[in-house]
């Protein structure tokens, strides 16, 4: 897994609430058997007219040239709906390292963390403050200090992440390695559990 310590970048503002994983990656792209290449279909039906790559929808933020960066900022309840990890893969493959929202759906949050994409939960007021910034302004996310800063104004907020997941993100460790190292403990647990 990719590690992440600190990032300063411009951001893409997606002022939509309840962005569900069917929008992030429509079901017809779930026929793949590998994790690669999902970025080109990220937000597919919001990005293109009639599924046609030669007809980008000009009102969608990913198609607006003034916006760029490795940070996606979205309104509340981001990632609700289906458990498809393809949503996290497509966000990562597109080039995002951080998603900022005032509220994340649980399964998406876990999926993002398991793929080295950091979900940063901010207050409603801070989210609005980010949305109010110009396209050129940048955000800095410092995982070690657990802070997010709007660089132009200097205003900053701290965010929550559990200590274990923080260590994983900082070092690029994944849960599967951890669990594999616990096998004996799990076998011992099973002896009692299966009685």
């Amino acid at each position: 897994m990719q590690s992440l310590q600190k990032i300063s970048s411009r951001f893409i503002p997606l002022r939509v609430e309840n962005v569900d994983t069917d929008q992030i990656i429509p079901a017809r792209f779930l026929k793949a058997t590998t994790k690669e290449g999902f970025g080109k279909n990220l937000f597919r039906d919001w990005r293109y007219e009639n599924d046609d790559e030669s007809k980008p929808k000009t009102d969608f933020v990913l198609n607006q040239k003034q916006f760029s960066g490795e940070i996606l900022v979205a309104a509340k309840n981001f990632g609700c709906g289906s458990s498809r990890e393809h949503a996290a893969w497509s966000i990562q493959d597109y080039g995002f390292k951080v998603v900022v929202s005032s509220f994340f759906a649980d399964i998406f949050k876990n999926n993002a963390l398991n793929n080295g994409v950091l979900p940063v939960t901010v207050s409603d007021a801070f989210l609005q403050a980010i949305f109010a910034q110009s396209a050129e302004s940048t955000l800095t996310i410092d995982l070690e200090k657990q802070t997010i800063t709007i660089d132009t104004t200097g205003s900053s907020e701290s965010f929550e992440i559990n200590a274990y997941k923080k260590t994983c993100m900082l070092n690029g460790y994944d849960d599967i390695d951890y669990l594999l190292s616990m096998k004996e403990e799990i076998e011992k647990f099973e002896l009692n559990h299966n009685k």
Partner: protein, 467 residues
């Protein structure tokens, strides 16, 4: 202090609590399907690790299968490759597979309970958010991502932070024409599509106790639609009667031993919940959704909210976006609006009782000529039972074709899609933009409301058809 049923089961499955982090939670049953498992199989192979407990895994093909001519090779090459990959992976790793053509095949959340695989007190996971369905049996069941599928392959455990616990009490009797789908749509409309995020939800009260197992499954199924990690209902005699004698349910002496354990699974009288919500069953009307998330629902006789009822600017913008997608006006009534499609199916409502309900309404009548249908049983077993009970004849006489088992138009992965701009009354669980096909307009409702639309071709208050 007393414990909730959730705490009782959770605590029994914690292998370890990581300091400042999640718990390592042991998983009793792991259900897998073709869409969210291939990357987990290749992941574990890349690590060179074997599957830790393959005999605790059951696989089926459901999301990406055709619902006609299942005896023929799958025509869509990508779909075929994905289903073939599942067959190959299961064979290679010693996992029991109920694939196409197998009598046990069906939607993963229909076959688990049907076969007696789902049992009280268990932890159950699947790479599918509607795994919450299995909570109807008093189990902790929740959806996971593919990385977590790989974790269960590797160590039969997932890493989970313990959620808060909410109890929703529904007391009293339902109106005639109101069923469990209406209860859950009512709850989600009340607390919103994110209202239970961070929680596990226990459903309790006399209205829940009165429900059949299949009706309870419909409620737990849609827990995720309000953001909940899962839903749970304490097991009771209804549960045990449903389970007894099913192929994978405990037998003989083992049944009695398990029954004693299951009877301990309830929330203690002095258990504390992080949140409690009380609902009067009689307040619930037949429900229908008007928007693009399951929280945007109302009584079938109600009106779409007006613009001035929403103050937050982002929310207003989203509300307008949803109405524009749905082709509806703020403040309008839905009753009498024509619909072009009716979809009866999905892990929410595709069980035998759902088909019995629909049959009771359409018996001896003709389908409205303007309505196209997608009627899809949840499993081979449900399809078999439909025939055994003669319900297929009622559908055929009404001019309605019954298809073969699969997820179908619930998520539009196969060819069962609703065309752009058309309205579909759907017994499924999600009305997201494009969910049933690009531009499709989904109206979530109960099997009864769907049956009414089969006959009238319109959004209809089923209560006016019952006497």
């Amino acid at each position: 202090m007393g414990k909730t049923i959730f705490d009782k089961i959770w605590d029994k499955h914690v292998v370890k609590i990581i300091e400042g982090g999640p718990s390592v939670l042991y998983i009793d049953k792991h259900l897998i399907h073709e869409v969210t498992s291939p990357q987990a199989f290749s992941g574990i192979e890349k690590r060179g690790a074997p599957l830790f407990r393959p005999n605790q895994i059951v696989a089926t093909a459901d999301h990406n299968v055709p619902t006609m001519n299942q005896h023929l090779p799958i025509a869509d090459q990508l779909s075929k490759f994905q289903v073939d990959t599942l067959i190959e992976n299961c064979k290679k790793h010693g996992v029991e597979l109920y694939g196409l053509g197998h009598p046990n095949q069906g939607i993963v959340h229909v076959i688990g309970p049907e076969l007696g695989i789902t049992q009280p007190g268990m932890t159950i996971v699947c790479g599918d958010s509607h795994t919450s369905t299995h909570g109807a049996f008093g189990s902790i069941a929740f959806g996971i991502g593919t990385s977590e599928v790989e974790m269960v392959f590797a160590a039969q455990c997932v890493m989970q932070t313990k959620p808060k616990v909410m109890r929703i009490n529904i007391e009293g009797s339902l109106q005639n024409g109101v069923v469990s789908k209406d209860i859950i749509l009512y709850i989600i409309a009340k607390i919103s599509a994110s209202g239970a995020t961070g929680y596990f939800v226990e459903y309790a009260g006399s209205a829940i106790r009165a429900l059949s197992m299949e009706a309870r499954m419909t409620i737990c199924n849609m827990s995720i639609e309000m953001g909940a990690r899962g839903g749970i209902i304490a097991p009771d005699e209804t549960t045990y009667t449903y389970m007894k004698g099913r192929p994978f349910a405990p037998q003989g002496e083992n049944w009695n031993k398990k029954l004693t354990q299951w009877k301990e699974l309830y929330s203690d009288a002095d258990a504390k919940f992080d949140l409690e919500i009380n609902i009067n069953a009689a307040d619930i009307d037949p429900m229908i959704t008007y928007g693009t998330n399951p929280g945007m629902g109302l009584s079938v006789t109600g009106k779409v909210p007006t613009m001035d009822s929403i103050s937050d600017p982002t929310e207003k913008q989203n509300f307008e976006k949803a109405l524009a997608y749905m082709g509806l006006e703020a403040g309008q009534s839905l009753l009498g609006m024509p619909v072009q499609y009716v979809f009866i199916g999905s892990c929410t409502n595709s069980r035998i009782e759902d088909f019995r309900l629909v049959a009771s309404i359409i018996k001896g009548k003709q389908k409205n000529a303007s309505v196209k249908t997608l009627i899809v049983p949840g499993s081979q077993e449900v399809a078999k039972q439909i025939k055994a009970e003669g319900l297929d004849k009622i559908f055929t006489a009404a001019g309605i074709e019954i298809r073969q088992a699969g997820c179908s138009a619930c998520l539009g992965m196969n060819e069962d899609k609703i065309p752009a701009g058309e309205y579909c009354i759907s017994t499924s669980n999600r009305n997201f933009e494009g969910r049933q096909g690009a531009g499709a307009r989904t109206l979530l409702a109960s099997p009864l409301t769907a049956a009414a639309a089969l006959l009238t071709g319109k959004i209809t208050d089923i209560r006016t058809m019952l006497n």
